[in-house]
C-alpha cells in the first residue's frame, strides 16, 4: 500500500540520520555499502513499500536530499 515516491540526491546526503529518525514508518536507513563523494554512507529507502509520502523526512532534512511525491 505504498503511496509515497522518494527521490534521493545521494551526493548531497551527509548521513545525519534526521530523516531516518523522524520517518514515522521506518522507511529510511543509511546505505553502508556506498560512500558518496562527500565521504558519507548516504540515505536510502530500506523499506520503500512502507512510505506513505508524508514528507516528514524532507521536512527535517537539512540538505534537501529527499524529494517526495504522493500518488
Amino acid at each position: 500500500m505504498a503511496r509515497g515516491i522518494l527521490t534521493f540526491h545521494m551526493d548531497r546526503c551527509k548521513a545525519c540520520e534526521l530523516c531516518v529518525h523522524f520517518c514515522p514508518k521506518g522507511t529510511l536507513g543509511l546505505d553502508k555499502k556506498i560512500i558518496n563523494a562527500l565521504g558519507y554512507h548516504p540515505v536510502t529507502a530500506v523499506d520503500p513499500e512502507s512510505c506513505t509520502g508524508c514528507g516528514t523526512c524532507a521536512l527535517m532534512c537539512p540538505d534537501l536530499v529527499i524529494e517526495v511525491e504522493r500518488e
Binding site: 553502508k32 560512500i35 563523494a37 562527500l38 565521504g39
Partner: protein, 182 residues
C-alpha cells in the same frame, strides 16, 4: 637525512591535521627539527583541509613549500589539487576508498590503500587516518615505526587509554597493510 616535506590533505573531518601533528611529534621525539603548517579553515565549514610537515636534521629555514616531496591524499578534490605539485619522483599515498581516479603523473611512487574500507572492517571508522599513517611510515621510514610506537603515549598524552589503544590498533593495521601490499 635532508629536509623532507610531507603534505596531508583531505576533507575537514578526516583528521588530516592530527595525522600531520602525530608525525611532527614523532619526528621531534626522534630528535629531528620539525614544523607543522596547517591550512586552516575554521570559518569555512565543509571544506578541505591540509597540512605540511617538514622534517630535517638541521634548522628549518622555510617551513613553507608548494612542492612537497610526499603527499598523503585522502580524497578526490585533494588529488586534483595537489598531484601536480609533488616534487619530481616524489611519493604519493592515496586513500583509494574516496579517490575514484588514477594519478596522471608517472614519475611518482604511488601507494594506494582503501582506508575507509579497512577502517570499517576494523570497526573503527575514525581510525582511517591512523591506518594511513601507519602504512605511510612503514613504507617511507620518515620516522621509524618502532620510534613512533614508543612515543605514542607521549603524543596522545591526556587522551583516554581506550582512544590510545584504538589508535595504536589502527596504526598497526596500516603497518600490516603496507608490509603485505607495498
Amino acid at each position: 637525512m635532508e629536509e623532507k616535506q610531507v603534505l596531508f590533505a583531505g576533507f575537514g573531518g578526516q583528521g588530516v591535521l592530527s595525522m600531520g601533528q602525530f608525525l611532527t611529534h614523532a619526528a621531534l621525539s626522534a630528535g629531528k627539527h620539525v614544523s607543522w603548517v596547517p591550512s586552516y579553515g575554521a570559518e569555512m565549514r565543509g571544506g578541505t583541509a591540509n597540512c605540511l610537515v617538514t622534517i630535517s636534521d638541521e634548522e628549518i629555514s622555510s617551513p613553507i613549500t608548494e612542492n612537497p616531496l610526499m603527499a598523503v591524499i585522502l580524497n578526490r578534490p585533494s588529488l586534483d589539487k595537489f598531484e601536480n605539485k609533488i616534487k619530481p619522483n616524489g611519493t604519493l599515498v592515496i586513500n583509494s576508498s574516496l579517490v575514484d581516479r588514477e594519478p596522471r603523473r608517472d614519475d611518482l611512487d604511488v601507494l594506494k590503500l582503501p582506508v575507509n574500507e579497512l577502517a570499517d572492517r576494523l570497526g573503527n571508522p575514525r581510525g582511517a587516518n591512523m591506518i594511513l599513517l601507519g602504512a605511510y611510515l612503514e613504507k617511507t621510514k620518515v620516522v621509524e615505526v618502532e620510534k613512533a610506537l614508543e612515543y605514542f603515549d607521549v603524543i596522545f598524552k591526556g587522551k583516554s587509554e581506550e582512544v590510545i589503544r584504538k589508535n595504536k590498533e589502527a596504526f598497526l593495521a596500516g603497518v600490516e597493510y603496507a608490509r603485505q601490499h607495498w
